[in-house]
């Protein structure tokens, strides 16, 4: 096949075929359209205000590394006026997380951003290694995801930020839409395509890469020679999301626009009134103060199960009934510290990794 010229600048050699548009473009045009599309996503959704303190959920993986790089670039190019921080969560997974945290520490040097690392061990008293040794390899993603969500909010509260951004990309969101359909999870289906989520007592959280294809993120990182960590979490092979991911990859191979189209379908879903009425109203957890759909938030429920030696009580109804039958919570059980949303104090004292 003869070399093609870039469809945009008509000057340099095309090196990539964009899955989103099918356009054949050169390296520099690719960098520019990728960055500009993220900029457009940010401005059209009004994600940031001047002076915002923004924490980037950084795992050392491809999405969060590219996110940190692109946000820094856009912040400078378009003068967003943001204060950017890296926030990392250590779940305590030996051989996976400890290696990727080294990458985040390098990112901190490379992008010159303050870094805060928060661990499950200090927050909950349980590492993922210990959790998996207790519950086995099924449902561990549930524990990890629930604990991480709270950990990010708490880390952000310590840093006193206005906003958390995560590197979730178009593929992730399309997978989530498919998963929620497959599981009949109507509550999540209605929420999962929002680019911004904000509760009364929780920090605003958004996904600037919502429309960015995973393939393009990887290509961007490759051509820019960005430093990232790339291994599958050792506990994830049996995760339910794997099924959705395999399916989505096959759909993408047949028709690349499928990913954006699924997100579009997800955004267009409207829940019927009679179903909406049965949905739970949001309240706050009676034990730790975090947001919750029930009296106890999911993290407190899961932790209680772990502490009392009945870990699956957070997962199945049968186990929950068995736990309740054992009696009330013992006095000296470890619980999660009470959650304080950010105070708005512009000069907090925080420990920064140096």
């Amino acid at each position: 096949m003869p070399p093609k010229t870039c469809a945009l600048c008509e000057n340099a050699k095309a090196i990539l075929k964009r899955p989103k548009t099918g356009q054949q473009i050169c390296k520099d045009c690719f960098f520019y359209v990728f960055e500009t599309e993220v900029h457009n996503t940010i401005t059209q959704a009004n994600l940031f205000a001047r002076g915002d303190r923004v924490a980037i959920g950084a795992s050392g993986g491809k999405d969060s590394t590219v996110l940190a790089y692109v946000l820094k670039t856009l912040n400078e190019r378009y003068h967003y006026g943001l204060h950017l921080f890296l926030l990392s969560i250590d779940e305590g997974i030996t051989g996976y997380r400890d290696d990727s945290l080294e990458t985040v520490k390098r990112n901190q040097q490379q992008y010159d951003m303050p870094l805060k690392i928060l661990s499950y061990d200090e927050l909950y008293g349980w590492t993922m290694d210990r959790i998996v040794s207790q519950i086995g390899k099924k449902n561990n993603c549930t524990f990890c995801g629930v604990f991480r969500r709270q950990a990010l909010d708490r880390g952000a509260a310590v840093l006193n930020v206005d906003h958390i951004v995560t590197g979730h990309n178009a593929d992730d969101i399309a997978e989530t839409v498919l998963m929620n359909i497959m599981r009949g999870d109507i509550a999540r289906l209605g929420r999962c395509t929002s680019i911004v989520t904000q509760g009364e007592d929780t920090i605003k959280r958004s996904k600037p890469f919502k429309y960015a294809y995973e393939k393009e993120i990887v290509m961007y990182a490759y051509f820019k020679k960005l430093d990232y960590f790339s291994t599958e979490c050792i506990y994830s092979p049996d995760a339910y999301r794997g099924h959705a991911r395999t399916f989505l990859k096959d759909l993408e191979a047949a028709r690349p626009s499928a990913i954006i189209d699924i997100i579009h379908s997800g955004e267009a879903f409207e829940i019927r009134e009679e179903i909406k009425a049965t949905q739970k109203i949001q309240q706050t957890c009676k034990r730790c103060g975090y947001m919750s759909s029930n009296d106890l938030c999911k993290a407190c429920t899961l932790l209680e199960g772990l502490e009392r030696g009945m870990a699956s009580s957070g997962i199945t109804d049968r186990a929950r009934k068995k736990l309740d039958a054992e009696g009330p919570l013992p006095e000296n059980l470890r619980t999660i510290p009470f959650y304080q949303p950010p105070s708005g104090n512009p000069n907090p004292t925080i420990t920064i990794e140096s």
């Binding site: 096949m1 990539l16 993986g61 995973e214 993120i217 490759y222 599958e232």
Partner: protein
């Protein structure tokens, strides 16, 4: 029989399947069996249908000779598993004809997996 020298690179965690080595150099024959069988000897080639060595053949070759474990994580059917990106001389293989691209001497082929956490 002429041979082709190639530089292969693995990224995104794929290197773990290939002795944890990111970079490899290979030499392939320039004419190979059309059924992608890399074990057919040079003499036996005259008796079978042949084609110039292409990327499709290369993928079979890598699976049969360099891959240490879990072939299903690298190949699916006659091509790489969906989610693995292929670059030929720093260009998306979709622009070069994917599996049908005929390999040239000193080509660099890069395989990057996207299937891991971000």
């Amino acid at each position: 029989m002429t041979t082709i020298s190639l530089r292969i690179e693995f990224g995104g965690g794929l290197e773990l399947l290939f002795s944890n080595e990111k970079r490899h150099t290979l030499t392939l024959p320039s004419i190979v069996s059309s059924d992608n069988n890399s074990k057919t000897s040079a003499d036996a080639l005259s008796g079978v249908n042949t084609k110039p060595a292409d990327v499709e053949y290369l993928v079979f070759y890598l699976r049969d000779h360099l891959l240490q474990e879990r072939p299903e994580l690298f190949m699916e059917g006659k091509t790489v598993r969906p989610g693995i990106l292929v670059l030929i001389n720093d260009t998306d293989w979709e622009l070069e004809g994917e599996g049908e691209y005929v390999l040239q001497n000193n080509d660099e082929i890069v395989f990057i997996s996207t299937l891991h956490g971000g």
